[in-house]
């Protein structure tokens, strides 16, 4: 017990929590936008891989870091578009299409990596995003280390939380997205395009998801590995429900998971000798499930989630 409190008081623990949370923030926001419009996007896991791979590859080929971010977003949007055409235009099963996109995006990414670098045994490194040292603020005790030594991508993620909240709650576009996820007929009756809104939401949401992947190769690490996404996309799918589709709560959920994970690593070194390490590795997931069970009981799903809509049908 004492050890936990000691860990909670360290700056590095909080800094790590925020760092671990960053890709999840992108992912949850992306999933939230898709689901608010009425479409579940299980392509998220593969879109993470595609974003990680495409962003890193672009930088390695010399686009510069921000160029890499743009390329990652475009790659995410591309796979989102595939999902959108399958589920919105053709009205196919969102589960099957999403899992298909995950398999497809993952394989395409691995394939391109292998094709570009056939003979490499240790993955080539790029120069990743550096912590943004903000004069004076970075010197502050505690806060300085936790907040002001994160990379630009973490700041972008936090900014996105605010932006998504604003668009969803303060603009006509947000109202239309929420409406199309509740009752597509309401949107159709007002002369708006159900297809357009949904496809747009999925493409934008998927681009955000891809930034979560890009953070892994361009900020958390400096290279692309197989299996590096490691279930983060799935975690985001659970976190959206935990957040009951609200951007603010999505941030909270991502931070909570980040904190569990950071704590887990530190506990391993503290008491690792007595308890098998697998217990710690599993802990964040177990805790997430518990949190989800508590939160999801009250969750109000977007009413039209999973239901395809066709023009001119009852």
């Amino acid at each position: 017990m004492i050890e936990i409190f000691q860990i909670l008081l360290t700056e590095s623990f909080w800094a790590a929590s925020l760092r671990i949370a960053t890709p999840l923030i992108f992912g949850v926001l992306g999933a939230l936008i898709c689901e608010k419009s009425g479409v579940l996007n299980l392509g998220i896991e593969g879109i993470f891989v595609a974003g990680a791979m495409a962003g890193w590859m672009a930088v390695w080929l010399g686009t510069g870091l921000w160029g890499g971010v743009v390329v990652a977003a475009i790659a995410g949007g591309f796979f989102g578009l595939i999902h959108a055409i399958l589920t919105v235009t053709l009205g196919l099963s969102q589960h099957v299409s999403g899992l298909g996109v995950t398999l497809f995006a993952t394989s395409v990414s691995y394939f391109s990596y292998r094709t570009a670098l056939p003979k490499v045994s240790s993955p080539p490194r790029i120069e990743p995003f550096r912590p943004l040292e903000i004069p004076i603020l970075s010197e502050l005790p505690f806060i300085g280390t936790v907040l002001f030594q994160q990379t630009a991508l973490t700041w972008l993620a936090l900014f996105m939380v605010g932006l998504v909240w604003y668009v969803m709650n303060r603009t006509g576009l947000g109202v239309a997205i929420k409406a199309v996820g509740d009752n597509p007929n309401s949107v159709d009756a007002q002369g708006l395009s159900v297809y357009g809104l949904r496809i747009g939401a999925i493409v934008v949401g998927s681009a955000l998801m891809a930034l979560g992947g890009a953070f892994l190769t361009m900020s958390a690490f400096d290279a692309f590995f197989f299996g590096m996404v490691n279930g983060r996309g799935w975690i985001c799918i659970a976190l959206v429900i935990f957040a009951s589709w609200k951007p603010g709560k999505a941030l909270l959920g991502a931070l909570l998971f980040g904190a569990f994970d950071a704590l887990q690593v530190r506990m391993q070194t503290e008491v690792g000798a007595k308890v098998p390490s697998q217990v710690f590795l599993a802990a964040p997931y177990v805790l997430s499930i518990v949190a989800l069970v508590i939160a999801a009981r009250r969750a109000e799903y977007p009413r039209a989630l999973l239901t395809p809509w066709f023009k001119g049908q009852r």
Binding site: Y166, R170, T171, G172, L173, V175, A176, K178, A179, G181, D182, N183, N185, S186, V187, D188, A189, Q190, G191, L192, E300, P302, R303, K311, G312, R314
Partner: protein, 505 residues
């Protein structure tokens, strides 16, 4: 009417598979006129209006809009946006509201540009306030639509259409869920708006309001226009003949000696999360051979009362006895077993399982019956036989026993439910708004079935907003207002109307 046309529908046709829902229909609408569109369930009224509004793409035909200076412009077909831009507003038969948004958001939806970063809500509220004043329709703007009553939702739908600055307003059964008083008020205000050049097409199954408020009547049957008459020359018999090609069935109520009580509700109290989900100290009894009518404006506790008797909500205090035996509340299967047959208010949602077949829906309440299963395995042939027997006995028409139940028209869904309920020979029938949205023929069928059940010895609770229906069928009448139930001593429209509004003593 000496005025000029504003809208010309020319030879519109539309088929769905083998169903010819609209067959070369031509129709003119004149400036400032109220045109009523009549026809049985499935006659094609909604289909025709959906083509006008661009929801459906016609197979053939064209639509012209005549502007103020007399120029006829063809309307781009199959595009709601073009119809809205041409000044057409439509109130749909089934709500097109997003329930997670409040009324204001629903009304503003689509009328603001997506690239604007700020919304001008106060300006919208001012405009809506003005429309509310002009139309007499009031609804709360800041409550999520999912928490509004059906009556309030209906008003929001109409406000939403008026908000778009329409000069042609289409109302598809706008009064199906309104009380007679609300309906009259709505039409008075619409008549007033026609003075300023609004032209209206409305669809209704209620002949009283059609005769009172329309200038002209067009009748559809099986997808064709079969007649047009001026409302002055029309009467109920003439219209009925046009609609169904025959006189409507009349029903007669025999005097019967009532038997012992089948349902006794004693001091039932439910404290729900909102006022309309609460009941206070409800006591009532229904006897064999008796129809108890419960009149009231929707949202006054009818739904909870029906749910409580069906075991769908838990009561805070009070007792329910069926056939003299106390029953566990909050246990629907127990209550079905005790002999209660339910005709639910929302037939699409609570009456059938839309994705399941017609045959499956017919047997869904008696899966343990030896007729349809043995040792837990369903007997497919027996089910099909059962279904085709009942379909012919109760005149359920549709695409066949294997089709999904949701494809049936509203009237046929109701007949399916009636078949299921009646075949179980229930002691008590709980009918909640059983004829809402049904055409005259189908409504008469329902009424006849309820009278037949009364004859056979069932007790019936008839919850309805339709005073004519309550008055013609009930042996005793109670009025529900604000979660409280009162016996009506005299059976006349005025007194009942006042009690429904919570006024009279």
């Amino acid at each position: 009417m000496t005025s000029s046309p504003v809208l010309i529908l020319d030879g519109l046709s539309k088929s769905f598979g083998s169903v010819r829902a609209a067959d070369a229909i031509s129709l003119k609408l004149f400036t400032g006129e109220v045109l009523a569109l009549l026809g049985e369930n499935g006659a094609g009224k909604t289909t025709l209006m959906n083509m006008l509004f661009g929801h459906y793409m016609p197979d053939s035909g064209k639509i012209e809009i005549i502007d103020g200076s007399g120029h006829a412009k063809p309307l781009q077909l199959g595009n709601p946006q073009a119809s809205i831009a041409a000044g057409i507003g439509m109130v749909h038969q089934h709500f097109t509201l997003a329930e997670n948004l409040d009324a204001l958001d629903n009304i503003m939806l689509g009328s603001e540009s997506f690239i604007h970063l700020r919304r001008n809500k106060s300006q919208a509220i001012r405009k809506i306030q003005k429309i509310m004043n002009d139309s007499g329709l009031v609804a709360p703007m800041d409550v999520a639509v999912g928490r509004l009553t059906v009556g309030e939702r209906q008003r929001v739908e109409i406000l939403k259409a008026l908000y778009q600055d329409v000069n042609i307003l289409v109302l598809d059964e706008p009064t199906a869920v309104l009380t007679p008083q609300e309906a009259d008020k709505l039409f008075e205000n619409i008549t007033a708006m026609t003075k300023n050049g609004l032209s209206v097409i409305f669809i209704s199954h209620k002949l009283r309001e059609v005769l009172a408020f329309s200038n002209r009547i067009a009748v559809l049957r099986h997808g064709r226009k079969v007649g047009e008459i001026s409302s002055k020359e029309a009467n109920e018999r003439k219209i009925a003949r046009l609609m169904v090609g025959e006189e409507t069935k009349v029903f007669s109520k025999k005097e019967l000696q009532v038997g012992e009580p089948v349902l006794e509700v004693d001091n039932l109290t439910i404290s729900g999360s909102s006022k309309r989900e609460s009941l206070s100290n409800i006591s009532l009894s229904v006897n064999k051979h008796e129809i108890l009518g419960i009149a009231g404006i929707s949202g006054n506790g009818q739904t909870v009362l029906a749910n409580a008797i069906s075991g769908l909500v838990k009561s805070s205090s009070g007792k329910i006895k069926i056939d003299g035996k106390n029953i566990l509340t909050n246990d629907p299967s127990n209550i079905i077993q005790a002999g209660v047959g339910r005709i639910p208010e929302d037939r699409h949602k609570d009456g059938i399982v839309g994705q399941m077949s017609v045959a499956e829906n017919m047997i869904i309440e008696d899966l343990n019956d030896g007729k349809v299963q043995s040792r837990g395995l369903l007997n497919h042939e027996a089910i099909m036989r059962h279904c085709s027997n009942l379909s012919s006995k109760y005149d359920v028409r549709g695409p066949g026993p294997n089709a999904s139940a949701r494809l049936l028209s509203g009237g046929n869904i109701q007949k399916l439910i009636l078949a299921r309920v009646f075949e179980a020979s229930p002691k008590l029938i709980l009918a909640n708004q059983p004829t809402r949205g049904l055409d005259m023929g189908a409504a008469a069928d329902v009424a006849n079935r309820l009278l037949e059940a009364r004859q056979r010895g069932s007790g019936v609770i008839l919850i309805s907003e339709d005073l004519d229906e309550i008055l013609s069928l009930s042996d005793r009448i109670m009025v529900i207002y604000d979660g409280k139930l009162r016996m009506a001593e005299t059976h006349d429209r005025e007194t009942l109307g006042l009690m429904m509004a919570g006024e009279a003593a």
